[in-house]
Symmetry: C2
Subunit: 226 residues, 2 copies
Amino acid sequence: MDAVRVIEIKKSIFADNDRDADALRGELKSKGVYLLNLMSSPGSGKTTTLIQTINRIKDQVRIAVMEADIDSNVDAVKIKEATGIESIQLHTGGMCHLDAEMTRQGLENLPLEGIDLVILENVGNLVCPAEFDTGSCCNAMILSVPEGDDKPLKYPLMFSVCDLVLVNKTDVLPYFDFDMDKCTEYIHMRNPKSKVIPICAKTGEGIDDFAGWLLEQVKNWKQHEN
Amino acid sequence: MDAVRVIEIKKSIFADNDRDADALRGELKSKGVYLLNLMSSPGSGKTTTLIQTINRIKDQVRIAVMEADIDSNVDAVKIKEATGIESIQLHTGGMCHLDAEMTRQGLENLPLEGIDLVILENVGNLVCPAEFDTGSCCNAMILSVPEGDDKPLKYPLMFSVCDLVLVNKTDVLPYFDFDMDKCTEYIHMRNPKSKVIPICAKTGEGIDDFAGWLLEQVKNWKQHEN
């Protein structure tokens, strides 16, 4: 296994997370770095989706990944081995989410001057990460077919803060009672602007759509650089 | 749809959750009520598992269910419709877990003198619920096959506080890279005493084992009543 750096994140002591998040976003803007905050339940396929996507676009944009986990570094190692890009592991020490200051601690360990796109894989959790602005330019999430089409009803905040929902594991649709139309309707109840892309990280279905969307986001962010 | 009661849970103001939890457990003991705290990720199949299990044992023990969710009451309605037993919905108002005081607020809405077993379906989340003793007699969790066999590595506390792990959705084992032996080994790394039962709530596989285990737990708890 390749060695990856493991960063032990300290609990934030700042009271005003929204202000910190806005400040961080401003700094990223001035540096021309686009930060995507990717959230989901445990086991929805975040890491596999990232590997597929990064391998499609790594020749067009310079990418780094921060893998947040309570423990273990398996995800950061997997990303590094499968894509060759810079990948660091953030240990949250039991904490269930990242906020802006914790995200900043991670970013300080990356050579941002040579990077266009940082993807933050947040802690696997549909509740707490939705409550904290990380300072990212965009929130996205993965919902996997086996979790069920009713999740937007049960985790309203998560779906309302995300502008992109990837519906993953479409290859197992025949084995689950999952109604894609109903799911899309529930997602739009929470956030009418949300873009929904069905994908299968295992077979590659839909990954080109996600990769295209991501490249466009990075391009727009850099074009309007301060 | 049958109407179910929805209880809006208030945030606890008590500082010492462990003491509250022990006190609650003592009261449940004196009343001969066994409380099972069932945890899992979103979409692992908690509600379907409960319906299957309750229908097998509801003639032998008197059961009530408390469904904790951030929002919606779909689970409590489903349980009531499919089993006919008492089922109430606890709304956590955005909170990601239940503690002992919040659990007590739920129990106060049940006629405990006529109940042997209360099952608390905790908020779908592998992080925060593990940090708070609810006052239950036992913690159990469901891990579903699509989530992956590596979850005990990533969510150590959840697996270490549970004495029973149900590995659900075994019917889709052929479609996922899930190694049951490796998963069991990881679970036992976190809690060597943990009992692991593979189940499929959809087909009923393994539910008799879980139902038998649960009946035994309730019997033992009541036999050693104060």
